[in-house]
């Protein structure tokens, strides 16, 4: 069973360890240094920001990854989001995390989001496929946008409109989970 609890300061070491793992970093748009001081400053900034929310993904109450909602633009009702799994999950339910997230985030009345948008590296084919499955459309491609290990990579710019997600009706409706919100702490 999945649940999503707010990231806390005591999670930072584990989160940094996950973030620099090669099988996680290969899909990230930016590279981060292994620097706990910088990590703490980053956390203080996002923890205080009204426009960023970070969760630790737990599977049967064991931390396995990070989920984020960022750049929340309340005036224009859109935001971006991100996900990575730092631990290998033994259940395929990990692949459904985006679905749990969309059901949660598009139901949040305080956000009233009209759209999610994101950027995906060309090598993250599983995520691109999942986006397609969930109803994303591609806005465009930044050609040769990220230089990684001496090789330029494209970045796909994608977005999911709330109405497109909701139009899928019951297809994914059963995938709901507990999310800890800022007001709950």
């Amino acid at each position: 069973m999945l649940n999503f609890r707010r990231m806390r300061e005591e999670d930072l070491q584990k989160v940094l360890d996950w973030r620099v793992k090669p099988d996680v970093a290969q899909f990230m748009l930016t590279e981060v240094a292994y620097d706990m001081e910088r990590q703490r400053r980053w956390f203080q900034r996002i923890d205080a920001s009204p426009n960023d929310e970070y969760w630790i993904i737990e599977s049967d109450r064991t931390p396995v990854g990070v989920l984020s909602l960022s750049e929340i633009d309340r005036a224009n009702r859109h935001a971006t989001w991100g996900l990575y799994l730092g631990e290998k999950m033994n259940s395929p339910v990990g692949g459904m995390i985006p679905v749990y997230f969309y059901n949660y985030v598009f139901a949040r009345a305080d956000l009233n989001l009209h759209k999610l948008h994101g950027k995906v590296l060309e090598n993250n084919t599983s995520m691109l496929k999942m986006h397609e499955t969930c109803g994303y459309h591609q806005v465009g491609i930044h050609k040769d946008h990220v230089l990684r290990d001496g090789k330029f990579m494209d970045v796909h710019v994608v977005e999911l409109l709330r109405d497109i997600w909701l139009a899928q009706g019951n297809r994914f409706a059963r995938h709901t989970a507990e999310f800890e919100t800022r007001t709950a702490v």
């Binding site: 395929p92 990990g94 459904m96 084919t125 999942m130």
Partner: protein
């Protein structure tokens, strides 16, 4: 009457579609005993879900019966239907037989 070879063909078509998105050195064999998910398997959970959502759609299109491979019944079975191709084919066959 649901024929197992038809289901196997659907599953292998989905695996082939996944192969087209994967590097040459990460191709999955198109076979009954290909490992999909779990210990020693090639797919991560996101890749697996993208395959099984394709299969759900294909089964619905071909047999006119919606099935769910991502519900709690599938995810929580004592013997996972996602370990390898044959197990998935058997599970889909079981689901369709129940609807027949």
């Amino acid at each position: 009457m649901v024929e197992r070879p038809q289901i196997l063909a659907l599953v292998l078509t989905a695996v082939q579609a996944l192969n087209e998105e994967r590097p040459a050195d990460e191709q999955l064999a198109l076979s009954d005993d290909t490992f999909l998910f779990g210990e020693g398997a090639e797919l991560d959970s996101l890749s697996l879900v993208s395959v099984i959502v394709d299969i759900e759609t294909a089964v619905t299109d071909q047999f006119g019966e919606p099935i769910s491979l991502t519900d709690d019944r599938a995810m929580n079975r004592a013997v996972s239907p996602f370990t390898h191709v044959a197990a998935l084919v058997d599970y889909i066959t079981e689901l369709l037989s129940e609807k027949a």
